[in-house]
Symmetry: C5
């Protein structure tokens, strides 16, 4: 699980205009991909340099430039120059621990949020920062590494789905954000599955492992929430923002859907938090009730022998005058008394509901 | 109990215009029912196709088209074409895990929320998604399965109750929402009954079963709240929304009533949550106090025998010179001392309040 | 203690215009009382029918019609006709489990809230629903049973107190609401008294009864809050409401006072909730600390005898060659050793602070 | 510690115009004090009657009339007549359990809040209700008893501090409120001192007394908050209120400072609440860990003797054929075995970390 | 760790215009430093008196006057006169326990917040109050002691970074606040590191020291939050404030970034609070589960010996007629029975999962 916060001491006091990559380098190389499409045409290719992207920007088509890998500050600067982006945009792109945010600049809309992806092969959660720059006719997406959750959108473009091919870059931005949030919900639902599976094995057999799992689920949920809740705030201000780069007539209604989805994500995480806390309670109750049963059994077991041992002790004394010792069936009577006594105690304890 | 969230990986990244049924298929066939009424007339019939519904839409009467079963995407598309519904409305109708919402479109008002129904025969809660499309002179309701909570409204229409027969489709929408919320409260009151019944048996006899029940009630309450609270939000925005499809002069006041009712539902669920949490406390306290009583009893029992056994032990030693062994009534004196000692301890412990 | 919610299945889906009594019938008969007053005159009488009330409505005086008992739906309908009340008002009057609310209608202001009354004779809390209909020159109050908290207001009218005799029906409504809220505070203060009395006996002697009482106080407080908090909301919207039936110049300032009072009630209930939760903690701490003391004492008691018994056991063995058995003062030395040993242990445990 | 709420049953339903003292009579006599000042002059004297105060009101100077003791309703009525105060003001002045509030009347601003004072001599907190009536050129302060926190303000006036001598009655009101809130913070800081002192003695030695103190601090903090939080609300509405009696150009900025101060008070009380709750946890943990240590020690002590006693028991049996009894060094070997056995167990338990 | 609140009784009731240093004197001398810069020039020097600062104020350049040490009230007064500052500004500067705030005055903007600095050498947190006075062309910063977190900003100025050298005093104010908040996050991340390190050692070995650390981390986190949360409020109102001294076209966007950063700080502290509370739970669970294991082991150990000792006791009795004593292999059979019995019990307990 990733760390909750990190602040390099050397990054303190950097100017917001300084282009310095703040984060862990997660990829070796930078990859540039271009998808350029309109209702009728679609081009998809890998680029070798930013310069190759410029011609696409001059056409009427929608251009989607995707950049994987942020460690190369000079390349990011190049992007900035090519598309005339504010330096603050670039500085935000390079800060991978940034809080999800949306800022409207003069010539673009900047959106940043965490992208979660469950890597089935490695059975682990991958999280990285995603920045989107939305301008007229172009959308630039910045990712930390290759590999993302956007394939379905690319497929819709490739397959010539009408809506996306006819829409502008704002709709493309919506489609990307939508899929990011769908993945939040998917990741939550995977964790939820595990939590609900645990539930079923909790009551009959409260193993130490279950406790360990509950605590690790709590931690994971805490971590997911730490990333989802600020995203909810960001989506809310995106919906409220009267941006020039979003056509609120046509695309605005979709952005409201995002809000519903992320609200649902947050509410679900609330429910699971409560369930986890209940599970912890159930665990403790079951464990302590089991221990109580054992201790009660053992104590009662001891208690039954105590008077018996005492009686034997009495007839182990060496008094000269201890008449019972000399009767013929004293020993057998003693044994009988012991049987009756312990039987009586067992009945008594059973009646009291102690056994 | 149903799952808290589910997200099919294959549904991630679908266009909001894609008509794909997202949910569990709960019915085999699709049923179409039409009620068409005005102050003077009323027609009620089953339809075989959407086409049969169209003539009703052209009259001045209020038409209520009810569709049970959502798995047939082509039929939903047909409905969309017939009544010129936005594709987003249809896509929302097909998404049964949607968060309760209200959206005003150009030619209709879309309302979606969960419908709860307690099935007495099966003694279980049935929950499904309900979508309402309210337009001028027509209301279309989409349900996942046959069977709903709307019979009383149908009866009011059949029996020619003036208000509903004289009103427009917005009042019909209110009547349906009202009954849905009444069922929330009914389901809560049933759960509440069980909780309050449990209460009475809790203090005298805290069985493991009670604990199990408290936890299962908590889970159920959690689940109900997960569905009721977003509905409350939806109702609030419905009341605030200045929709063209609701006559706020005549029907608006009723929608405010809905708000009161759903608030009452939420507050009641709050109260029961608190009661459940108190019950859990009472359970734990009672169980531990019982255990404490047992342990204290057993411990005192042992403690009384300890010095007695010790005394017997002393006179069981084989010292050559142990004068007491040779007195005539030593044994009897020892027994007397033991009686006095144990009696004294019992009195002491009783005085201390330990027994 | 009353139930937290109740919803008759048969009442689900009733039209808001249906006049059906929803609640438990609490009185046998319906009683009508009229007080009609102006600065100079005052008439107080029991009415036999609604018809007798009508003449009072036509004068310039303020008329207060009080109706005890709501089960007679036809009589309520009659009231509605006589004073031209909206059917929704009547339907709300008949719904005794309604959430406190205030609605402005065309010709009247409708206010509904719970009325609490501590019945000293029976030592129990009586709660019922109160509805007020405020119109020009008339106030109609609907109660579930005979007996209410309004005697002081009636006395002020009878005794010719200037302010109330000179004011209009809005001031009368204020006076009634004021006294209802004063009774909330009074009931809270009675419960508070009992809570604070319990406090004093809690620390020295944590009896099971105290626990039972704390839990029952919590339940009662929960129940009071369930009724007071929505009333606070209602009062707040009443103050914000720019009603035609309240002269905000003269009477509005008094309604603000209501807000202060009910806020104080809610805050007090918050404080007592916290105190109760503290008391529960103190109870548990005291009980467990007591038990710990007992168990520690008993364990130490046992522990002291264990080595003594062991020593006696050793000299109870029957070895042929056990030299100590044959010395003259062996027995006495053993006793001495035992005394020293147990004394030493007692000193050790005392020094450690265990006894 | 004072009671949290009190409502005399006889005060229920009083008209808000009724002048009846509601509270506990705390002083024997009523004292009137007048300070009248302007930039150049200052007069300070005790008055015998309200009549003596009137001339001061007619001058251009600022007059501060302070009244200690509220039980004399006729005198309060006299004040009302002399300064033409609304009866509601007087009724609020007489209600000492009133919630802090600010109301603007036609000819004055009414402010009411609790005044706390730590009486060092008696080592206890004194709390009473303070009412301020601010009008042009005059401020009337009503206190329940003689003795207050205002001496520093009087000194500033006496010593001719420019600001206060040059300002109007609104600045005087600010100065009084400021000192009241400073005393809130001072009282909090005294309690805080005691809480932090307790902290230091908590971990090493968790005495019962510490527990008692934590609980009593919690109660005190609860009580302080009950009075400070509504005062915060009052100050907030005072700042928002666009009163004619406060010159917002010159004095308004000071009132904002009050807000900062009272916010700080509330936040500090929040912090201490959390600390107290942490202390409670630490107490419980330390106590239970101590007990656990003791029980573990005692149990291990017993456990070591159990097999030893068992061995002795075996050789205490009287079998005819028990060969070991007849070897020469059997006894000594048994003792040796016992020493080795118990030594082994001690080593084992130490290795396991149980001792 | 510093105290949570402190209020000198002697400071109660001071006029807001009184210049009195309220706080602990943390430095011996007052140091004045001036940085004066424009796009082309930069001067940095130590001043001996306020008078030396005045010439810088008359130029077009940006002047940053930094004052370390606040105990010299006359010097602060001199600053006030030199730069014509409101007395309230000076009084706020001298109050080091002031709540973070922002106030716009006629000729300057006053900002005050806590400055945190982790002193690596001394391994402790240094916190002091920072006041900024922002006016046209000048920024005055007041610190309690020498040594601050501003070196990176000074370096940017010294190194001629364009943005800061070309901007006005509002941008300088942003740069200082930015670095203060970065240090909040840095301090949080250091504490976070320690918390996460503790986590790893918690489960295997729950030492008393871990508990001590958790509690001390909680206290530290509580203390940090006490200072960060009001700063968040302050930043929010700074962003909302339409101040004349901040150019919202150019610098405003940066102030919004501050908001994001401080929100992130608060959210992170929330997460760590939750983690700490989880850690406490884990600690308690692990400790109690360990103790339970020990007690269970010891109890079972005792229980196994109890029947054995009892059997030996029986054959230690001295009955004349105890036939088993006289059989040849009685003793050996008894030992065999004992082995079988104890073996059986061990098997039974293992099967039950008790061992």
């Amino acid at each position: 699980m990733a760390r909750f916060i990190s602040q390099n001491q050397s990054d303190i006091g950097l100017s917001p205009f300084e282009l310095k990559f703040k984060g862990k380098r997660k990829s070796d190389k930078t990859h540039l991909r271009m998808m350029d499409f309109s209702a009728d045409s679609m081009v998809e290719l890998k680029l070798k340099s930013i310069a190759e992207a410029l011609p696409f920007n001059e056409t009427d088509t929608v251009s989607w430039l995707n950049i994987d890998g942020l460690h190369d500050e000079s390349l990011i600067a190049e992007v900035g120059e090519a598309f005339e982006l504010d330096r603050m945009v670039l500085s935000d792109v390079l800060n991978t621990s940034i809080r999800p945010k949306v800022v409207e600049h003069d010539n673009c809309l900047f959106i940043s949020m965490k992208m979660m992806r469950y890597e089935e092969a490695k059975n682990r959660l991958h999280m990285e920062n995603l920045s989107l720059v939305v301008a007229n006719g172009i959308l630039i997406s910045f990712q930390e590494t290759k590999g993302d959750v956007f394939e379905p959108v690319r497929d819709r473009i490739r397959n010539g789905k009408k809506k996306i091919r006819n829409s502008s870059s704002d709709y493309l931005a919506f489609a990307l954000l939508d899929i990011v949030i769908d993945n939040y919900i998917y990741v939550l639902s995977l964790l939820g599955d595990r939590i609900e599976t645990l539930e079923e094995t909790l009551l009959p057999e409260p193993s130490e492992n279950a406790l360990f799992q509950i605590n690790s689920f709590k931690r994971e949920m805490n971590y997911l929430r730490k990333n989802i809740i600020p995203a909810k705030e960001m989506i809310t201000s995106l919906v409220k923002l009267d941006s020039d780069f979003i056509d609120f007539e046509t695309t605005g209604v979709h952005f409201k859907e995002l809000q519903d989805n992320i609200n649902q994500a947050v509410e679900t995480s609330d429910s699971y938090r409560e369930i986890l806390s209940d599970q912890l309670n159930i665990y403790h109750t079951t464990v302590s009730s089991k221990l109580n049963d054992i201790m009660r059994f053992l104590t009662i077991f001891s208690v039954i022998f105590i008077p018996l041992t005492f009686i034997a002790g009495i007839y182990g004394t060496n008094f000269d005058n201890l008449p019972e010792l000399h009767f013929k069936y004293s020993y057998h009577i003693m044994l009988l008394v012991m049987v009756i006594l312990s039987g009586g105690m067992i009945v008594y304890f059973k009646r009291k509901g102690w056994m």
